[in-house]
Amino acid sequence: MTHQKTLPDSYYQLMEQIQQVDFVLVELTLYLDTHPDDLDAINQFNQAAYESRQLKNTFEKQFGPLMQFGQSFSNYPWDWKEAPWPWQV
């Protein structure tokens, strides 16, 4: 049966930090698609990709996997399918 899980403020704060870094990555991706030889932008991209990894590792330790099909490790029991989903929080 489903049970209510109230998320702590830290969920929203950490999620927002991920959204910020990942947004920079989206913007740089689209930019680099039309400016593929901009080295400064590529360095910034790689730095942001590293930061994103770090933040997601921290997030997943507390709140479970962000991705699946093997893109994240699993806890026991399988917690990927647990609510809440992004549209519910």
């Binding site: 947004f23 920079v24 913007e27 901009d38």
Partner: protein, 74 residues
């Protein structure tokens, strides 16, 4: 910035128009219309947080809405 992000015009007003006339109509002319190819080393918003909440990383592409439309006539 050498361009405005809104353009306005005055539609013809007839005494036969049933609704009270809108003296001025305005429309967006967003920055992408003025940038043929984004230059290298374009200015960025200083933080990732600001970029997210502006909806773009690049200051030259930011276009707030709604604008204060009144300022843009003449």
């Amino acid at each position: 910035m050498t361009y405005t992000l809104v353009k306005c015009y005055s539609p013809y007003i007839s005494k036969m128009d049933p609704c009270p006339p809108m003296l001025k109509k305005c429309f967006s002319t967003p920055p992408n219309l003025y940038i043929p190819f984004q230059p290298y080393n374009s200015e960025q918003f200083p933080t990732a947080r600001e970029a997210l909440y502006k909806g773009t990383l690049w200051t030259c592409l930011y276009d707030p809405y709604p604008l204060k439309r009144e300022e843009n006539l003449e």
